[in-house]
Symmetry: C2
Subunit: 431 residues, 2 copies
């Protein structure tokens, strides 16, 4: 006999939690569809040459890679590489701008840590253009995500929002030409603190005045309008900076026009999105009061999605929710709804000898599209109600001699314990 | 540059087909939920010791197996092994009888053939009891599947239905004690034909009279009532045969009581489900007129689901749809709906300079829960309508100077080409 267990780093839920998880996943999907994103479903297994096209690095060590026959196979580690491969492969069949959503599992053989998973769901939306893509889309993506979070019941989310051109332009204007080093170091602020960041810049040979300017800049606080006013007041003539500022303002205005509330937007100049391929807008999302959870939804604008697979220039913008981690964190922070999650609205419990009457009722109710099941395993009433309790089923119907004679049904509200005798039409109304 | 391509044996669809595929998948899931099956989502990767607990055989050669660090990993090749592992692992948390559905991808490194996939969706429902499980469930499972096929628009499906006890009892009654050999040989009938099957039995040393009895038996044709009458008329006193006959009749009656139409049920004594672990009811499902597609939904009753992982006796009954293969076959047989599949109901096309008016309307319509998107990439009207056409979007709304002045919208029916000028309230009615 083999002890039943799973590999570490996998999330596996009991049905009650799985129902909640699926409700969140369904809400996300419904909203993506409402916003006109098309569904995509690519293989979990990709050719290694596709996954590794970008070259080595941290991610490639995490890939589950193996061979079968003559195939060199890897499990996808995100949904962006498959998207890049897909739009290149089916380029001539695709209607650009291509809006696609993809909700699926990805795999990373990371070091095992609490709240980090090796198999997890990503929920991505991207809009990919051919040659060019309007800046409106940089507002459309967070607008869709805003509706997702609102529908999920989080009124306290905040899009932290910045622009890479603005950042790089500012760096240039104070004489910092090594954007990569600067972005990488700023990105460490939350992890190692201001003093250590300062020291890293000093070690790099930066003048302390420049460092102060930089740290002042990215620490700028205020309302969105105050920050924009501050940025305009800097009177930096650097072209990249001015372009970034124009983009930032345009996207900010259009996010609001598309229904994102002012209170859910925060321009924050310290957001860089590390070393990724982002070239313009960058976003992170926090739940106010639960900042320690980290970003629950991130993304940005990129100039060229698929340069490893095609000569076509494919700019785009997208955001991604790490659903598995989000679910874990919500659970840890007691932010999940008290679990009254259930699939079945009503359980029919026929007395011994009245099974056929129960089945008859069941079949009628299902024809009327009710979510009903029947308990036909026999046993004592206590056991039967125990099954109903564990199902979280809101109603039970008892059928026995009395009910069949009087052509009524005993409907019990499992939450209040109240029991009423009613006709079929009444049943339909209740359920 | 790497040529964008995927591994062979994977189904990957263009958005139009993906929408259709997802519609089918959603219908299946909604029906499973309606029938009170609970959702399960287990890791795609299982420990090799779990997957190989049963010992070697054909299947184990097909498993995608590999190591990472010290972990021996395999991709699941069905959803039954994960179910067995799951109910063993969480036994004390599970509410029996446990009704679960699982719609997910499984992996088999099969030889590459047309219509056979190495990654494919299975859609499983099972009801698993502890110690015992009422025979009613053998009717409940096909009842749920009957609603699935009906909702999918197949009125011409037929459950081919048999009972293993009945078969084994009959074999015993004519002196055939090697059930495994007999079942295996019968199972080849469709593939190698009656003459070859006869020869195999002769080679095995069977008397030709016995072979004729056997082949006559399994070739029995007739209505369900005629076949039951025939079985009763055989007057076979064998206990197993009688038990099987009783079960067959009971399940048949209760399938009808649960709403399965007589025309969708066919008792067929040649159905054996090969060498699987089935012990009672066995089912296959064909689409009448498309028998060559093969069974699109199969399953049966098993006495002990998880003996490799637990001492608990867990009998169950289940059926499974091979969705990827079904989709492929429906497509090949032109049984998929003419593709008017779309996600978005309406595309707003603002004239140059009227983008903000377009966004305003878009935001209003989305607040009213309409599935709308906007085209803001500029360019000529022809290009914009080209985008709308490829989206299959039923309506477009044009906004320009005239519309803004007169506070109306030009709504164009993209199928009829008809265009009307209307108010916002009218828009809501149309969409």
């Amino acid at each position: 006999m083999i002890k039943p267990s799973i590999l570490s780093g996998m999330m596996e839920l009991l049905p009650q939690d799985q129902i909640l998880f699926n409700e969140i996943k369904d809400t996300i999907e419904e909203t993506f569809k409402k916003y006109g994103f098309l569904p995509l479903d690519t293989p979990v297994m990709e050719k290694q040459e596709i996954l590794f096209a970008k070259g080595g690095g941290e991610t490639s060590k995490q890939v589950y890679a193996f061979e079968k026959g003559s195939s060199k196979i890897g499990l996808r580690y995100d949904l962006t590489v498959p998207l890049a491969r897909y739009v290149s492969q089916y380029f001539s069949d695709i209607n650009f701008p291509f809006r696609r959503y993809h909700i699926a599992k990805v795999y990373r053989g990371e070091r095992n840590q609490r709240g980090r998973y090796r198999e997890f769901y990503q929920c991505d939306i991207d809009i990919v253009g051919h040659e060019k893509l309007s800046l409106y889309n940089d507002a459309e993506i967070p607008a869709a995500m805003s509706e997702v979070f609102t529908k999920l019941g989080f009124s306290n989310f905040k899009f932290l929002f910045n622009n890479r051109k603005l950042l790089n332009g500012f760096f240039e204007s104070i004489g910092l030409d090594d954007f990569i080093f600067t972005l990488r170091t700023i990105d460490k602020l939350d992890k190692i603190g201001e003093d250590n960041v300062k020291n890293e810049f000093i070690d790099y040979g930066l003048d302390s005045k420049v460092i102060d300017k930089l740290l002042d800049f990215i620490a700028t606080k205020g309302t969105n309008d105050e920050i924009i006013e501050y940025l305009e007041g800097l009177n930096i003539s650097n072209e990249l900076f001015q372009e970034g500022l124009k983009e930032l303002k345009f996207v900010y205005e259009n996010m609001k026009a598309l229904g994102v509330k002012e209170e859910n937007i925060q321009i924050q100049l310290s957001i860089t999105r590390g070393l990724d391929y982002y070239t313009g807008s960058v976003y992170e999302t926090i739940l106010t009061g639960y900042e320690s959870i980290g970003s629950v939804c991130s993304g940005g604008r990129y100039e060229n999605l698929a340069e490893n697979y095609t000569k076509q220039k494919l700019p785009g913008v997208g955001m991604s929710i790490g659903l598995t981690r989000l679910f874990y964190q919500l659970n840890e922070s007691n932010l999940l709804k008290e679990s009254s999650a259930h699939i079945t609205d009503c359980l029919i419990i026929p007395m011994k000898g009245y099974e056929n009457n129960g089945i008859e009722l069941l079949t009628e109710l299902r024809k009327d599209d009710k979510m009903v099941q029947i308990y036909l395993e026999g046993g004592k009433l206590k056991k039967q109600f125990g099954y109903a309790d564990k199902l979280n089923v809101p109603y039970t119907i008892i059928i026995g001699e009395e009910e069949v004679k009087s052509k009524t049904y005993s409907l019990r509200n499992m939450i209040t314990g109240e029991q009423v005798s009613c006709s079929y039409d009444d049943l339909i109304k209740y359920l």
